[in-house]
Amino acid sequence: MTTDQQVVLITGTRKGIGRFLAERFAHSGALVEGCSREPPDWSLEGYTHHLADVADEAQVKAMMTSIARRHGRLDIVINNAGVAAMNHSLLTPIASLDRIFDTNVRGTFLVCREAARLMQRRRFGRIVNVSTVAVPLRLEGEALYAASKSAVETLTRILAREFGPLGITVNAIGPTPIETDLIRGVPPDKIQKIVDSLAIRRLGRFEDVANVIDFFVRPESEYVTGQVIYLGGVS
């Protein structure tokens, strides 16, 4: 079965920006699929949730098979699921590396690979990965997080080349700090220091992220791939 509606997969939809994007795409008329390791405490018409860990190959494959069987297509993927950690490298346990890289790198790669397998059937796809301004700002205390997102940026640029001939674009957005769980627990003076280093000195908003994603996924952006756009004037 193939639906006429656009099918969108967003990872990490249980809360925060993922939930915001799921609601936004659903309200625009798309069929939205989302996933997280824990069940969400909300539901929405046009939204289907999968209990899946993006770092688990079997679970990602099962989710894609379910999407393929129910919709016959996948148009847009937002690789939003992410894990952050802030700590001085000298005090960072190696288990943190595994946890961060499992979700951010392994998870992004797995979802990109399995999504592209489905997207290439129709020779159309839009993949948006999520990086961070911590990469270009080289923020102290975020070595592992920024390193994992550097890997996401490199994946984005190389997958863009590999998937380009299949009609699939791959881009990334690098948000500034946003009021989400990811920055809860980060000292306010640290956040302020980051904000002060931006060209536009304020925290990011969900709408800022959605705006860049809208640009990447629109049909007219077929000639835009392998790009990383940072918010807040960071370059």
Partner: protein, 107 residues
Amino acid sequence: MTTLSTVDRSTVLALVIASLRDLYEQNDITADSEPGEDTYLIGRRALLDSLGLVTLIVDLEQKIEETFDVALTLANERAMSQKHSPFLTVGSLADYICALLDEQRNA
């Protein structure tokens, strides 16, 4: 859906040929003759480029899963290290897929 116990080579061969035909059509490839057992998939005599072979493998994995309800990984390390590539011709690929399906059946 065809079950593993009823799998036969002609079914697998038909899947490979159907995938190859689709790929030729999608990429405006004109072949001198209909794809068959001896059609080359790699090398100088093949009409597919490297991306075409990747697309063929992905498409076949999906068709195999839909047909036999078995998730196979065709381009695994074993396949890549074989002296004679299982991806050389349509026939050798069909043989290779049958061998993998047999392994699944006997596992």
